[in-house]
């Protein structure tokens, strides 16, 4: 029994175990020394967790767009980061118009909702047009072709925005209704964090219901399973794919809006890095899997926020926050070694991936 077990172990496995052990060792040793240093109190950790969750929920919303598209087309929609950027960027103009007209001061909540809807709408339009123009003709092409198209589309959208609206940073208005702290279950939290978390979770729940409980969701799942059979069952595949892109766009627009009211800066370049992170989050959770993307996003946000302090500060590494992406990507590798298809991904590396 033992012998056959030994036989199955290859050199590769040994190397991977060693790598994992080293990573785990660093993580554990770093965490213990950070916690023992006494530099950080409970409040620090609470703050870091809240920061991580707010940032993570934005990642999660973007990641859902990657995952939805991947689930259906098996392609990485590289341009999704630009879809995320275009929403808040477009609605910046609405926001500043509302501000100058004085409407925003009179009706702050209504204005915010209008701005949010416009952001979602703009992102949706961009998402659907990208699909229609750049991806649809490549439905049957080998997988690298749409990847390159997506990269091209991403550049194109970025630079069109830069060219049309300028290279400078644009600022969302500061609103009094978003300021201040609220007490939730005895926890002092900033109002804006609460808004971001609740909206994000709400949207995610909505999406989950949509995909799992409605007819449209059923159709989406069917197309994702097998396009040809779905078509035979009377499902309009093209339309479902368009709808999927639209939903992804709406979520990205919402994420962009939440980002914009939390951080108050938009620029033509703002999509690239969060897009990359969200894509990582989607893979982390198991790409193509909707709860996976949510989990991956939140997890990534948390790791980025807590990781440097928890794992590295205790080791005496200078400027650990600079290395937060290193931590995130290393943990990604670590997780993928044990679960090659992500946390919630299908168990076997099927040929789809």
């Amino acid at each position: 029994m033992t012998k056959s077990w030994l036989k199955r172990v290859s050199a590769t496995d040994v190397v991977m175990w060693v790598v994992s052990l080293i990573i785990a060792g660093i993580v554990i040793y770093g965490s213990i020394s950070s916690l023992q240093s006494g530099k950080y109190d409970g409040n620090t950790w609470k703050d870091l967790i809240v920061y991580g969750l707010t940032q993570g929920s934005i990642y999660a919303l973007i990641a859902l767009g990657y995952t939805l598209v991947y689930g259906i087309l098996r392609m990485i929609n590289f341009a999704h980061s630009e879809i995320y950027m275009s929403g808040p960027f477009a609605s910046y103009f609405l926001a500043s118009a509302l501000l100058t007209s004085g409407f925003m001061d009179k009706q702050p909540w209504l204005s915010l909702i209008l701005v949010a809807l416009f952001a979602m709408f703009s992102s949706m339009v961009i998402a659907v047009s990208v699909e229609r123009i750049a991806y649809r003709p490549l439905r049957k092409a080998p997988r690298l072709a749409p990847l390159i198209t997506a990269i091209g589309a991403s550049f194109f959208i970025q630079y069109v925005f830069k060219g049309l609206f300028g290279a400078g940073v644009k600022n969302y208005p500061e609103l009094d209704v978003l300021k201040g702290q609220v007490n939730i279950f005895g926890l002092e939290m900033y109002r804006i964090h609460v808004i971001v978390l609740i909206s994000a979770v709400g949207l995610m729940a909505l999406l989950y219901t949509l995909v799992m409980k409605t007819k449209l969701g059923k159709a989406m799942r069917a197309v994702s399973e097998d396009k040809d059979s779905a078509a035979l069952m009377g499902i309009n595949v093209d339309q479902i794919i368009s709808t999927t892109f639209a939903i992804g766009g709406v979520l990205a627009g919402a994420a962009g809006f939440l980002y914009a009211i939390m951080f108050r800066q938009v620029s033509w370049y703002m999509g690239f890095i969060p897009g990359l992170k969200a894509f990582t989050a989607a893979v982390l959770g198991g790409i193509g899997n909707i709860p996976g993307a949510m989990l991956g996003g939140l997890f990534l946000g948390l790791i980025e926020s807590i990781g440097p302090t928890l794992f590295l500060a205790g080791l005496g590494i200078p400027a650990p926050n600079q290395l937060k992406d290193v931590i995130a990507f290393t943990l990604l590798v670590f997780i993928l070694i044990f679960r090659p298809t992500g946390i919630l991904g299908e168990r076997l590396a099927t040929k789809k991936a």
């Binding site: 530099k39 950080y40 409040n43 620090t44 703050d47 870091l48 920061y51 991580g52 707010t54 940032q55 830069k162 300028g166 290279a167 400078g168 940073v169 600022n171 500061e174 900033y190 980002y259 951080f263 108050r264 800066q265 620029s267 370049y269 703002m270 690239f272 890095i273 969060p274 980025e304 926020s305 807590i306 440097p308 302090t309 500060a313 200078p318 400027a319 650990p320 926050n321 600079q322 937060k324 992406d325």
Partner: protein, 412 residues
């Protein structure tokens, strides 16, 4: 392609024939050690920029490029010639700087260059341009080694501040205002890293303590984790000489972090702009910014801002437009000094003479102060002041004003 080749070779052959029978005029004798640029009557004087005008750092270069364009508009003409601005994108990296420099060096009609944007570009590009006889004046390179006598390249000058000067003044101010524990943040750029290091060294020399030296990426948006980390070290002041986007995020988020509610904040000339005030929001009130001393000069800058707004439809994008304006102005002044006009109206500019004239710049009144170039090319007015932002409304930005200026000068 093949056809194009055929066309071209036929043309070359034809013109060689033409050249053989064309009349020849006695050439102007150029005695300059580096050669001369000849500008025919009616032809423009070509000045080039070498700046980052595309990619994520584009706003830095576009900002400076616009400064040069406004300088050209203001100058209108130079010795009866119009001024033409040509230029190359440098990408804010060494290889881009090298490629741009090589291209500019190959164009013999270029008189002088305003650039580069980033110090890494200058390290790779300046030797090439200098060897080709060109002189370049940078508006935004701040790395000390570029004008260090041991490493200085002959044709290199700059109107941007050497980090050594600015970082030290910032540290002295911090110490003088009673701060004993400071933390710094840099964004991995040459500029910020260098500046915070100078600050830290000087601050320690004075007897202060640097409790934390943090680093972020310029593309980061959520600064709260790093600020939380800093808060645990308990600084009285945070010094972050970074750029508008990230600087805005740090300032906007710093008060959200418990432990930093009352910490003093300080930045440098990279964020000395209304754009930053706008990005930072209300928390910017009370923040210190180091910058050239605006009390030294008059209303020129306000005028400049107006022209900028009409010409480009937006406010300056970054902090070095005025330095670029001055860099171009120094070059124009030097050209006026050394250019020789011969009988048929052709203008001759000796390259060595031009270089010498630029380095001899003295007490030149520019937008950024009274400029005097050192032997190793440091032309910036060494007078650095520290300002305090008193009003977070970007519309009130008027650092040059005599009274009630915002930001208000607090040091020296």
């Amino acid at each position: 392609m093949k056809r194009l080749f055929v066309v071209l070779s036929l043309l070359v052959a034809a013109s060689m024939l033409l050249a053989a029978c064309g009349p020849s005029t006695p050439p102007f004798e150029c005695k300059d050690a580096l050669g001369c640029v000849d500008i025919a009557p009616g032809a423009p004087i070509r000045v080039a920029y070498a700046m980052v005008v595309e990619g994520p750092d584009a706003s830095l270069g576009i900002d400076s490029k616009r400064g040069v364009e406004i300088a050209i508009d203001d100058k209108k003409e130079l010795l009866g010639h119009s001024i033409e601005l040509v230029g190359e994108n440098t990408g804010c990296n060494a290889e881009g700087g090298q490629a741009a420099a090589t291209k500019l060096a190959a164009d013999k009609s270029i008189v002088a260059i305003v650039g580069t944007s980033c110090s890494s570009e200058a390290r790779a590009g300046a030797p090439i341009l200098s060897d080709a006889g060109l002189t370049l004046v940078s508006a935004s390179n701040t790395a000390p080694d570029l004008t260090d006598p041991a490493k200085h390249v002959a044709g290199y000058a700059r109107t941007a501040h050497n980090d050594k000067v600015q970082g030290a003044v910032a540290a002295e101010f911090a110490y003088a205002s009673g701060v004993r524990k400071a933390a710094t943040i840099h964004d991995g750029s040459l500029y910020a890293d260098q500046l915070q290091q100078v600050f830290a060294n000087r601050f320690k020399e004075l007897g202060g303590e640097i409790v934390y030296q943090a680093a972020i990426a310029p593309t980061d948006t959520d600064m709260r984790p790093v600020l939380t980390e800093i808060a645990a070290a308990g600084p009285e002041m945070i010094y972050y000489p970074i750029f508008v986007a990230a600087g805005g995020f740090v300032t906007a988020q710093v008060r959200e972090v418990s432990g930093l509610e009352n910490v003093k904040t300080m930045g440098a000339d990279g964020i000395f702009s209304p754009d930053f005030i706008k990005a930072a929001g209300e928390n910017v009130k009370g923040m210190y910014l180091s910058s050239p001393d605006f009390s030294a000069f008059g209303a020129g800058y306000t005028d400049f801002l107006k022209k900028h707004e009409t010409k480009y439809g937006e406010k300056p994008l970054s902090a070095f437009h005025a330095h670029a304006y001055d860099a171009a102005s120094i070059i124009f002044a030097a050209i006026e000094k050394v250019a020789v006009k011969d009988a048929d109206g052709t203008l001759h500019i000796g390259r060595q003479a031009l270089r010498d004239a630029i380095f001899a710049t003295k007490e030149f009144s520019g937008l950024t102060g009274k400029l005097t170039c050192s032997a190793t090319g440091d032309c910036a007015d060494p007078k650095i002041a520290v300002y305090e932002v008193v009003n977070p409304d970007p519309a009130t930005w008027n650092p040059g004003a005599a009274a009630d200026s915002n930001p208000k000068k607090v040091y020296p």
